[in-house]
């Protein structure tokens, strides 16, 4: 299936009224969620996950994907107007964006961030298309041993790049795998960790855990510290950047797009990382680096482009190899598995319609977002003024009903509350929830790959060490783990701020 016919197939699916509506709903909710501090894209995706059960697989994915990149757009709005980032990826935009607003150039800042996001999103999808095909074909040569090794490496890499202690991140990953093993063993049929409870026979569902860890715990943390928001009240006039500003933004946007895309492919590289690296790059390349932080438009255009194209980049490993490099991708993968679509090397072959449908819907989504953001800014500002004391019960209600609706069972609500509590303590003790959720979703696949590999090798682990891809992946993972314990290597550890969903 070559590029052109793929695109045709994709647009045939995404340009139906139903899917346009789903895309629109997704980006609308995404922008809304991105504007509101306290709930992020991941929270919204987990909230809406149960509601997608009745939908077609492609429609569900289109909507969920729309939420994610829509939230990136929304986050920029609050960063510029209120100096409060609505999303992790928009933190950097506060630096120069808010300064521009103070100087009366709020409109230009908002305008350029919408344009940068649009260009980056569109180009990113193009790159995604170009890269996915060859990678998917290469991934077809993967067998269970390779899949296991790559997933193992992915989890290890995520722990390595995570903020804070690597040991904590790794242990959270292990907890995730443990949690995923609750239920009936697929191969032998024996119940594991069910502790005699009927409700646990099928294992714990992803949704209550995700909503608890990200949604409920976020609400509780927010309730503890009262967030005071002063909304920038002057009128936003002149929504378009002038010619000079457009000219200055051209290269930052291009650089941001490429940076963001490749960072998105890596595990742990997310909107936060991409935007920060783009900002640093622009500052270094600028003729007036000292002016950054006072309202330089390059400092808005570059990061905004980066945090959008990294979404496209993150899709690559997920869609082609079934390896999520980021929690949001893991959630999308969870959604796909719920709809009985298995992401991985065979995904492109078996479901080209879903693959191309989602990719082409991203083009449509970017256009919709451009249309939505420029005129609707006034409305978003009003939304920002809703007091949190009214907002949080609504968020909680959504979580609770979402959890309940899975199996019509109150037990799932208890799971939700339990993990809300767990998530709260995790935040307090500086344990990241991302490795846990990723490991929870990958757990069953990881285990299955391992057992299949051992079946192939007849129980002999040495089989892993004669396959080149496995050697490289497992070796690299081993080095990363050991580096934590060898003081010399530990000091040199690369510390990238990973997108932690609990960002304000």
């Amino acid at each position: 299936m070559d590029l052109f016919s793929g695109l045709l197939l994709g647009f045939k699916i995404s340009l139906t009224l139903v899917n346009i509506l789903h895309c629109f709903t997704g980006v609308l909710i995404g922008t809304l969620v991105g504007v509101l501090p306290g709930i992020g894209a991941i929270g919204a995706m987990s909230l809406l996950l149960p509601l997608t059960f009745g939908m077609e697989a492609s429609s569900a994915l289109i909507m969920l994907a729309g939420i994610y990149y829509g939230a990136q757009y929304g986050g920029s709005t609050t960063s510029i107007l209120v100096n409060i980032p609505g999303e992790g990826g928009s933190v950097i935009t506060c630096l120069d964006g808010y300064q521009m607003a103070l100087k009366g150039r709020a409109g230009a800042a908002l305008g350029i961030s919408a344009i940068a996001s649009f260009v980056a999103g569109t180009l990113g999808v193009l790159l995604l298309m170009l890269f996915s095909l060859p990678i998917a074909k290469f991934a077809l040569k993967f067998g269970p041993p390779e899949i296991f090794s790559l997933m193992f490496l992915g989890l290890t890499l995520l722990s390595y790049l995570a903020r804070g202690s690597m040991l904590k991140a790794l242990s959270m990953g292990l907890v995730g795998i443990l949690l995923s093993s609750i239920g009936i063993d697929i191969i032998t049929g024996f119940p594991r960790f069910t502790m005699g409870m009927v409700n646990l026979i099928d294992g714990i569902d992803l949704v209550p855990i995700a909503m608890g860890l990200f949604g409920i715990s976020e609400v509780i943390v927010n309730l503890e510290e009262e967030v005071r928001r002063e909304v920038f009240d002057t009128k936003v006039k002149g929504l378009l950047p002038d010619r000079e500003e457009r000219r200055r933004s051209r290269w930052p946007i291009l650089r941001g797009t490429i940076l963001g895309f490749f960072l998105g492919i890596m595990p742990g590289g997310g909107a936060v990382t991409s935007s920060i690296i783009s900002y640093t790059t622009e500052k270094k390349l600028s003729r007036y680096p000292e002016k950054f932080g006072t309202g330089m438009i390059e400092g808005v255009a570059g990061p905004e482009a980066a945090n959008n194209s990294c979404t496209a980049g993150a899709f690559v490993p997920m869609l082609t190899m079934g390896i999520p490099t980021h929690v949001s991708m893991a959630l999308l993968m969870g959604a796909m598995m719920i709809h009985n679509v298995v992401p991985g090397p065979l995904f492109l072959k078996e479901h080209p319609d879903i693959f191309w449908g989602v990719i082409t819907s991203m083009y449509i989504g970017n256009i919709l977002l451009l249309i939505l953001n420029l005129p609707l800014i006034g409305i978003w500002v009003k939304v920002l003024k809703v007091p949190y004391s009214i907002l949080f019960p609504l968020i909680l209600l959504f979580c609770v009903i979402g959890a309940y609706s899975l199996q019509n069972s109150v037990f799932d609500i208890f799971v939700l509350i339990f993990f809300g509590l767990v998530g709260y303590f995790m935040k307090k003790l500086n344990y990241g929830p991302a490795p846990l959720i990723l490991a929870f979703i990958l757990g069953p696949k990881l285990e299955q790959a391992l057992r299949q590999s051992l079946l192939i090798f007849q129980g002999n682990f040495a089989g892993f060490f004669v396959r080149p891809i496995c050697i490289v992946s497992l070796g690299f993972a081993l080095i990363l783990i050991i580096s934590n314990f060898v003081p010399v290597l530990r000091r040199g550890r690369l510390r990238l701020p990973v997108e932690e969903p609990e960002d304000p």
Partner: protein
């Protein structure tokens, strides 16, 4: 305050099958809106009613999720 929120969620879950969706949601919502202490009882009552009604319509009719009726079969 965070603890009272958690406890109220727990209460919601426990009471759901007894009171049914409408009553339970109304009660807990009222409690949650009022817990911040920033709004008059009129606002709290109004907001709870509106939210419960819209939630019932949204989840029950638009999304067609079966909602518990409680002992009185509400």
């Amino acid at each position: 305050m965070a603890i009272s929120v958690l406890l109220s969620l727990l209460a919601y879950a426990l009471l759901l099958d007894i009171l049914g969706f409408l009553l339970d949601t109304l009660l807990i919502f009222g409690f949650l809106f009022a817990s911040s202490g920033k709004h008059s009882w009129k606002v709290v009552l109004g907001a709870s009613l509106i939210t419960t009604a819209s939630a019932f319509l949204l989840f029950g009719y638009v999304l067609k999720i079966p909602l518990p009726g409680g002992l009185l079969h509400f």
